[in-house]
């Protein structure tokens, strides 16, 4: 492990990679801060840029964007009560009241320190858990992988939108269907290409990510008549107050951060859960942990109430890397986008990643520490300036997002068919989002589609076409049991209503 850490440090501390972490953190913060645009949009917009880089550099940049976007989301939650992503909704409960009391600077500092601590502690957990789990996961066979992917997709569907399980499953099916377009991976037989040469290689993952997140998000801003910059007029972005914390506030944070980090990391590791559940759970648990007089301050600007979700959502981000790096199976929409990017680099994440591409494996882990430090150093003094970006009017914001989306896909394929396909998918996504059809299950299914078919193929061929493989191995049966439990719980919940 020491060799790995040193290798990771060597790669992550190279000038180019340091520059990339820094750029990633800044760009992530800026994009994540704009209400409605979250880590997934930020990463999707970055993918075309990373194409010219080596895999470690590309992944380091995207990891920086990921943390930056989560932190940026907290800033808009605190300053204008507009969480950029669901993962920062819990931040508004105490962050916004603090800002209203004239302590916006303090709230942002608490968020920054908590994010930094949560991310760093979780990165240590990741350092221990990832290699260990990689060794364990070597025992996984095709049926286990297939079952795990079914569990992951079910979990993401169950947690991505409250009470919308069937809609989320429909999105999973749509994602899997889109993944089957193009040549069959084994026999090269064309499928669903309708005699179009442009579809023979399948639909590009970047195209789907850009259309479903960046482009449709921009169109939704116009369609719903939202103007993110309007909310900024209610508060002064140049006078945020002091960012210094007193001893009492520091002590409160010291108690909250360790327990919220553990909760955040564990929830992050679970497939489908992630930052949103982690932050709400940490907030709720923290409320139970504190004394009665502190409990009453919750919702009115409590330090505990702000530090808990902020610590947990960043810890969950690091935790989400565990299944991605060790099993090659992303547990959330954001890590699915990262998996797609890794596959595009020609790297197959999984239990052997730390043997076949140790520099990628370790440099990503080590860059997390560096990213957290950079995020803290850059963002604390720059907060008042970065916060002014919240005032960018939609008249400029939307065309620029659309431009980056179209240019991003055109610069990769130089094919206008891809532009039209992307516009069509973005319009479709807009319509679906309007009626609360969640998009993360779709992107996860699209990324996992090929692997899922491959593992089902192997399993069925080994078992001679029999579905006995689903319960022949205890591990497969246990994982499928988890899926059945999850589905039963969803059915129970819908009947209980």
């Amino acid at each position: 492990m020491i060799e790995g850490i040193l290798l990771g440090l060597k790669t992550a501390l190279s000038f180019t990679n340091l520059l990339m972490v820094m750029l990633g953190c800044i760009m992530g913060t800026v994009i994540g801060m704009l209400p409605g645009l979250g880590p997934m949009t930020a990463i999707a917009l970055m993918i075309p840029i990373t194409y010219g880089f080596d895999p470690s550099t590309g992944l380091i940049l995207m990891a920086g964007v990921y943390y930056g976007a989560v932190f940026g989301g907290s800033t808009s939650s605190i300053l204008i009560n507009a969480p950029g992503v669901p993962g920062t909704v819990a931040t508004t409960f105490d962050g916004y009241p603090m800002a209203q009391q004239g302590k916006a600077g303090k709230a942002l500092a608490i968020a920054a320190y908590s994010s930094f601590s949560g991310g760093t502690i979780a990165a240590i957990f990741l350092l221990i858990a990832a290699p260990t789990l990689s060794k364990v996961s070597l025992a996984f066979r095709s049926p286990d992988y297939f079952a795990l992917m079914v569990l992951g997709l079910t979990a993401v569907s169950a947690f991505s939108a409250k009470g919308q399980f069937l809609k989320a499953i429909m999105m999973v099916v749509l994602g899997l269907m889109l993944a089957t377009v193009g040549q069959d991976s084994l026999s090269d037989i064309p499928r669903f290409i309708f005699n179009s040469m442009s579809l023979s290689d399948g639909i590009s993952f970047i195209l789907i990510a850009m259309a479903m997140f960046a482009m449709s998000e921009a169109l939704m801003i116009i369609f719903k008549g939202k103007d993110p910059s309007k909310a900024t007029k209610s508060i002064s972005l140049s006078e945020l107050g002091s960012i210094r914390l007193d001893k009492e506030e520091r002590n409160k944070m010291l108690k909250t951060i360790p327990r919220s980090s553990v909760i955040g990391f564990l929830i992050g590791v679970l497939p489908g859960a992630g930052a949103t559940i982690a932050s709400f759970l940490a907030y709720g648990m923290e409320r139970n942990f504190v004394k009665k007089e502190e409990k009453e301050k919750f919702g009115k600007g409590s330090v505990h109430g702000l530090a808990a979700p902020e610590t947990a959502n960043n810890a969950a981000c690091s935790g989400a890397f565990v299944p991605l790096l060790t099993l090659g199976i992303p547990g959330s929409g954001t890590t699915a986008v990262m998996l797609g990017a890794l596959l595009a680099f020609g790297i197959q994440p999984g239990p052997t990643l730390y043997m076949t591409n140790p520099e990628v494996f370790w440099s990503v882990i080590m860059s997390m520490y560096i990213g957290m430090v950079i995020l803290l150093i850059l963002n604390l003094p720059l907060i008042p300036y970065i916060a002014r970006l919240l005032a960018v009017p939609r008249n400029y914001l939307v065309p620029l997002i659309l431009f980056f989306s179209v240019a991003g896909i055109y610069l990769i394929s130089f094919n206008t068919f891809d532009i039209f396909l992307m516009i069509g998918l973005a319009v479709l996504a807009c319509g679906l989002r309007l009626y609360n059809f969640p998009m993360p299950p779709l992107i996860l299914a699209f990324v996992l589609g090929g692997m899922m078919e491959e593992n089902l193929r192997r399993s069925l061929l080994i078992s001679d076409g029999s579905f006995n493989f689903l319960w022949d191995r205890p591990l497969t049966a246990i994982i499928l049991g988890g899926t059945i439990l999850l589905v039963s719980w969803q059915i129970y919940k819908s009947f209980k209503k």
């Binding site: 009470g163 069937l166 499928r191 008549g225 008249n395 659309l402 055109y410 089902l456």
Partner: protein, 156 residues
């Protein structure tokens, strides 16, 4: 009886799954693979059936809460114009070239979204695209064809 939009979307998804299933059955596999436990059309066929099943469930099951969207708050006109501008941009990007088509796309988008400060609109289109092209073409080495800039002798 009023049918909700979510049910209509589910019905459309049912029809789409049916079409997908039909197309999946049309996939031509190698003759030696025809009776194999798994071939190129197995997974799509499962997906087609599963899609129909889920959409069917959504259509049949009663809705607990109304999910209708208030149409009067939706800005169809501006969205449609923006989509048309994007389609036009996609259509002319090869013939007109990246620089002019992108700059025109940006300027027209700003304008249709209500912006009227021409200097700012200009600065965030032509010079902005020029800097972007320099980064992409000059630094990242991604070749961009631009017939007009080529004719003007700006690009090689």
């Amino acid at each position: 009886m009023k049918i909700s939009t979510v049910k209509i979307i589910s019905l459309l998804f049912f029809i789409f799954s049916l079409f997908y299933l039909y197309t999946a059955h049309q996939i031509r596999v190698f003759s030696f693979d025809e009776n194999a436990a798994f071939n190129a059309k197995t997974f799509p066929i499962y997906l087609g059936y599963f899609g129909m099943f889920i959409a069917g469930l959504k259509i049949i099951l009663p809705e607990k809460t109304s999910e209708e969207v208030d149409q009067k708050f939706l800005n169809y006109k501006q969205t449609l114009i923006l989509v048309l501008i994007m389609v036009t941009y996609g259509s002319i990007i090869r013939s007109v070239g990246f620089f002019f088509s992108t700059s025109l796309f940006l300027i027209s988008s700003y304008y249709f979204l209500g912006e009227r400060r021409w200097l700012r609109m200009f600065m965030l289109s032509f010079p902005f695209v020029a800097i972007f092209m320099f980064l992409v073409h000059g630094l990242l080495d991604i070749y961009l064809t631009d017939p007009i800039l080529k004719a003007l002798g700006v690009m090689g």
